[in-house]
Amino acid sequence: MAAPCRKMASRSFSQLLCYFSRTAVGSGACRRFSVTSIDRATPRASTAADRATSPWSLMAAVCLQRLPVITADCSPIEQRFKQMLQQMELEKSMLSDHELRLMEDAERMSRRQADDYDSDEDLGDQEIMMTQDLEDSWEQRLKNFQPAPRVRADIDEDLTSVQRCLADSLVLLAEQQVGAEKLWLLPQAAWQEGETLRQTAERALNSVTAAGVKATFLGNAPCGVYKYKLPKAARTENSVGVKVFFFKAILADGTPGSAPTASLLWLKKSELQKYLKPAYMMNVGRFILNL
């Protein structure tokens, strides 16, 4: 009797947990993504009818990201922990060949400087390089190589350059005409008959950037949607609002082309707030990961 009671109790407890977490976080606690069964029975003829009756017009936008090129600086706690770990590892380790050589050299020097020094002991020492000299030669070779600077303040200030802020991931923003006004938003284009939404997004990207820009779209599925209703003046029976579907893309390595056609900005996630409308920012900020 005790066992089934316990099972029931645990199941109800887990359901309770799920309920609480869902209400608390606002999204499911478990990382399930259920794919609903594809309805093969619907005939193709009805889709055209669906589109004609739906009051929403479709648009597709692209969220193009340039991933970080250099590693980010360590935060203070990360630096302290790194130093401590290195110290601990050094203490637990054994002596390496190089360290043994250093110790032998030190011993030899002390023997040479001792009073009862017998010069016959070391014959052919003149050919052997002292370990210290080896270390100096290595340091010299390192100094001869000049790596590119990690941070360049002037390029970081230029918001249109794709080389700015190499330690963070940047998102492309374009200024486009929406209705009556010009807004800063992710490059978007209206959907046309006969193409998938991903092709619309690719068209949007090509229209906004130069020809040489190569981007890898991550799959056919949209990563987010933004619905907005047109202002009451513009609303008709057939068009109540617009649904914008976002598609993620990653900028491929390589130098970007020449000056782009429209005004573009490359912004970090923290800087997006200044340029995007609040509701749009809240929606788009969900799928732009700062990782």
Binding site: D39, M94, P147, N220, P222, G224, R286
Partner: protein, 203 residues
């Protein structure tokens, strides 16, 4: 005359055989004297039935059998399993077991060990916060995608089905990860010369 003589000899032989039998009791015919051939076995023994011994059929067969047995034994000996290739990572090199290489473990002061313990705890708290933030971010992104697909389904079934199709050209996807310094533009890397000393084993 000869008939009578032969019958007489036969009678004498049988009487003597019977007498010996009676004297010795039931005994092995092999123990009897070779002169007393039991008449019954004279006609049925195989070697006497056949032609005089030529040693042709049985011995070649026996020799063949011997040779086959020897060959089988040789094959069994030759069937050695192939020597296993040693995994060099699992063999501790003798350099590491050398006693002269041991470092003198330093004595830590009480403050030092305390600070290390506190730093470890702080680090675990920091990493936990980082991990929870990552998990939350991923869940938000997944929720956004789920909503997008729902809205798309409400709009048009065809586009929804097109969105669910996997993209065959996406994988394999490669991307160079972040390095410590950015790449130098138009850099001509020098040729690196190296001696490849990896041991190649053949079975």
């Amino acid at each position: 005359m000869s008939l009578v003589v032969s019958r007489f000899i036969g009678g004498v032989l049988s009487r003597q055989a019977a007498a010996s039998r009676l004297l010795l009791g039931e005994c092995n015919p092999a123990l009897q004297s070779p002169w007393f051939f039991p008449v019954a076995t004279l006609k049925t023994s195989a070697p006497l039935r056949a032609e005089p011994k030529k040693k042709k059929k049985v011995d070649p067969r026996r020799e063949l059998m011997m040779r086959e047995r020897l060959k089988k034994k040789l094959k069994k000996l030759e069937r050695v399993p192939p020597e296993l290739i040693p995994i060099e990572d699992f063999i501790t090199p003798t350099k590491c077991l050398d006693e002269t290489r041991e470092r003198i473990p330093p004595t830590l002061s009480f403050e030092e060990s305390e600070s290390r313990a506190l730093l470890l705890k702080e680090w675990s708290r920091y990493k936990q916060k980082q991990h929870m933030a990552e998990v939350e971010a991923i869940e938000l992104a997944l929720e956004a995608q789920r909503e997008a697909l729902e809205e798309l389904k409400m709009e048009s079934e065809e586009l929804y089905r097109a969105a669910l199709k996997p993209d065959p050209l996406l994988l394999p996807f490669t991307h160079e990860g972040p390095a410590y310094t950015p790449p130098i533009p138009n850099y001509d890397a020098p040729d690196g010369k190296y001696n490849d000393v990896t041991k190649v084993y053949t079975q």
